[in-house]
Each structure stands twice: as C-alpha cells, then as structure tokens.
C-alpha cells in the first residue's frame, strides 16, 4: 500500500463532512417542531411551531420555502423519472415542514406517513415496474416545452398579482392552536359524510387497483 494511497484515504476521510448536513437538517427540523426544549416538568407544553413573529419563524420559513421551491422546480426540470420522484419526495417533505410551521402537526405527520411513505413509494414502484430501461426518455416537442414554460410563468405572475391585490377577509377570532382531538371531533361530526364517503372511495379504489393490477385476467 503506497503512501499516496494512505494519504488519499485519510484525505477522503477528512473530506467527508458527513455528519454536518444531517446534523443541520435535524437541528432545523427540531426547531420546526417547536420552540420549547425539554418539556418542563411543571410548565405547559408548547406544541406549536416557532412563535409567530419571531426571527426564528422567518428564518425557518425562508429556509423551508427555498427548499420547497427548489425541489419543485427540480421536479419539472428533471429528465429522469426516478430523479423526478426523488425531488418530489423532497418537495413533499418540505411541504410537511411547512405544515409544521403552520402549526398543523398532525397534518404534517400524516403527510409524511401517507404521501412520503406511501404514495411516493407507490409511484417509484410504478416507475420500476414500467420502465424497460431507467434511462428511457420521452422527450416532448420543443414547441410544447416553450408553450408550457410561457403559460406557467404567465400564470405564476398572474397569481402573484392576485396575491398582491388581495384583501383577505378573516374569520373573527384568534388562532388557538390545533389538537388532534379537535380534528377528530370535526371529522366525525361536521365532516362525517365526506369522511365516510372517503372511506368508501378508498375501498372501491383498493378493489379497483387490485383488479387492474391483477396478473391473470
């Protein structure tokens, strides 16, 4: 083993600031999850995200929003379908972090469970079952690309204009945090019919998907 090799290996070792990126991310998510460290033994437990109006909220929002926007732009720019799925995963995870910022903890967790853990895996599954080669490309025409880009940017500008002009009316009363129990209660009272319908729909979809994907027809 040459000395060059050893040096190379040790420098590889140095080059890997491996713990840094995950550590930063974990710290970020920690901050997103709430502002109170170590739940105090006697005090109340704060479960909302960063305190509204604080510098931390601003910092976190911009970080997560940047991540969301970058990854969603990356979704539409990627040529490779698996990378698209990866970026979609990033987007979904960032949206879940945004939900944390919006104090919708339950929704954030559900987004992680169902979307990132379930739906996305399903998509990747589909990709792997339907691709002859991972590098198979389906390129659309140039005109389509340009047209789509133009329409999307115009729409974005239009939406932005609308946001700028909008005067949002708000319901009277203050935001008082959300609890899972409240969600459950309103799911089973006000929204019980859609809830049941969604259940039936899921069942039908389950049967339908099983039927569609069946091998022996």
């Amino acid at each position: 083993m040459s000395i060059d090799r050893v040096n190379q290996l040790s420098s590889t070792c140095v080059r890997r600031r491996f713990a840094l990126a995950p550590a930063l991310l974990v710290l970020g998510v920690t901050l997103l999850c709430g502002t109170r460290a170590m739940a105090s033994s006697g005090g109340e437990v704060v479960t909302t995200a960063a305190e509204p109006g604080s510098l931390l909220e601003v910092v976190l929002f911009y970080a997560v929003a940047t991540m969301t926007i970058v990854s969603s732009v990356a979704v539409c720019m990627s040529k490779n379908i698996v990378r698209m799925a990866l970026w979609l995963f990033m987007t979904l995870a960032s949206v879940s972090f945004l939900y944390f910022l919006l104090a919708a903890n339950f929704l954030a967790s559900i987004q992680l469970v169902v979307y990132a853990g379930g739906t996305l895996v399903l998509l990747v599954f589909g990709v792997m079952l339907t691709n002859k080669s991972p590098w198979a490309r389906y390129t659309p025409g140039k005109l389509e690309l340009v047209g789509a880009a133009a329409v999307c940017s115009v729409l974005l500008v239009a939406l932005w204009l609308v946001f700028l002009r909008a005067e949002w009316s708000r319901l009277p009363g203050a935001f008082a945090g959300t609890s899972v129990a409240d969600l459950g209660r309103s799911l089973l009272s006000v929204y019980v019919v859609p809830f049941e319908v969604a259940g039936v729909l899921l069942m039908i979809v389950m049967v339908g998907a099983a039927h569609l994907a069946r091998q022996d027809k």
Partner: protein, 103 residues
C-alpha cells in the same frame, strides 16, 4: 417582518406552476402523475395556510387538506395500476403511444 398567508400562497403558486409544467411537458404517464401530485399538494398547502391565518381555529382547511391527501393516495394507487396495465398491453408508458382508441 412577519410571515403571513401570502408567503405560503406564493410557495403554493410556485408549486402549482411547477406541477402544471410537469403535467404538460412529460410524456411518461408516471411523470404526469407526479405533476398531479405537485398540484394537489400546492392546493393543500394553500388550504392549510388559509386555515392557519384566517380560519380562527375552525380547522376546515386542515380537514380539506386531509381529504386531499386521501384522494391523492387513492388516485395514485389507481393511476399506477392503470400505468402497469398500459405497460403490459403496449410495452410502454408513453402517453402519446396509447392511441388505440383514437378515432
């Protein structure tokens, strides 16, 4: 400097446009599906943001977002099933090739 509903709406709008672009430029059926997921997510984000800043704790937006997640999961399951079937019959998931029923 405060984060308000508009900030989230802008993020949602960008996601929506990206999803739209993805839907309208990809020829891979699953690519289109990914675009649809983006669009659905952006609308869910909007709903939750409205709920947080304007709902006064009514939770309606969050519940809508929950339903969106449910429907998206259902839609993805079915769509992937259809894609697999299309692939089985046509050996491709290029949506431009699936023209057997075209008049």
């Amino acid at each position: 400097m405060t984060i308000g509903v508009t900030h989230f709406l802008v993020v949602g709008a960008v996601m929506f446009c990206c999803g739209l672009y993805t839907m309208s430029t990809k020829r891979n059926a699953i690519g289109i599906l990914i675009g649809v997921e983006l669009v659905l997510n952006s609308s869910a984000l909007n709903l939750v943001a409205f709920d947080r800043y304007m709902g006064a704790g009514r939770l309606d937006g969050q519940i809508m977002a929950l339903f969106i997640i449910v429907l998206a999961a259902a839609e993805a399951a079915l769509a992937v099933g259809i894609c697999i079937n299309v692939y089985r019959n046509l050996a491709t998931v290029d949506v431009d090739k699936a023209t057997q029923l075209r008049g």
